[in-house]
């Protein structure tokens, strides 16, 4: 008999949206408030894990056709590349820069290369965490 997961499914659908939105907020807030790449990445990963738990792996994989090993690798690559890029302007490896710009909609906004580096961190964390969980649950 197929177990009745209606409540779990419905709650998950709502919860995941909230978790992911909050994750993105945490990630971008990291510059000035608690948050950042690690926390953002981990909460995205936990949201995905919730999806995998509520629905089965196949269903999720059909909807999110992403290989998370590659996500982790891309994350590390982005982090390294942002580090290397500072070499081209004669600054030490991993030197970060920031500046304030007037953007059309947002008004005066701070843009920092550190965010790019943080994207790499977040992707690496997401990729690794999901890979670990998926590897274990696929086995046995």
């Amino acid at each position: 008999m197929k177990p009745n997961d209606v409540i779990l499914h419905s709650v998950t659908k709502v919860a995941v949206v909230i978790i992911l939105t909050f994750s993105i907020y945490l990630f971008y807030g990291g510059h000035h408030n608690p948050g950042g790449g690690f926390i953002g990445g981990l909460s995205v990963a936990s949201g995905l894990v919730l999806l995998y738990l509520a629905f089965d792996i196949e269903t999720v994989r059909n909807n999110i056709p992403v290989d998370f090993k590659i996500v982790a690798a891309v994350g590390v690559l982005i982090a390294v590349l942002t580090g290397v890029s500072s070499l081209f302007i004669g600054k030490p490896f991993l030197n970060q820069a920031f500046g304030y710009f007037d953007l059309p909609i947002f008004g005066k906004t701070e843009l920092a290369t550190a965010v790019l580096f943080d994207v790499g961190v977040a992707l690496a964390v997401i990729g690794t965490a999901v890979t670990i969980i998926l590897s274990i649950s696929e086995d046995g």
Binding site: H32, P34, F38, G140
Partner: protein
Amino acid sequence: METSMSILIGVLFTIGTYLILTKSLLRIILGTSIISHGVNLLILTMGGLKKGGPPLLGESSTTFTDSLPQALILTAIVINFAVTALFLVLSYRTYKTLGTDDMDQLRGIEDE
């Protein structure tokens, strides 16, 4: 607060060490997990407790707690997650392949 934290950390280390010294793989993993909690708290306590507000410049406080241990611990937490996962999978696979989680039986055969 520092005194009671020191004692708590000591207890965490004691329990963690005791678990690591047992024969069951699962207990050993739990032990490492507890020790790493102890270590994180130890680093934080070393930096001094409640010396100021959270290390956020946007807030109103003018003194801040030591931010360096926090950065260290943040790194440690994430690495600890990875290590625990690796341990867990290693023991899980050991159990599946060899059929035991008893460290005494997992040791090498005499006169290899």
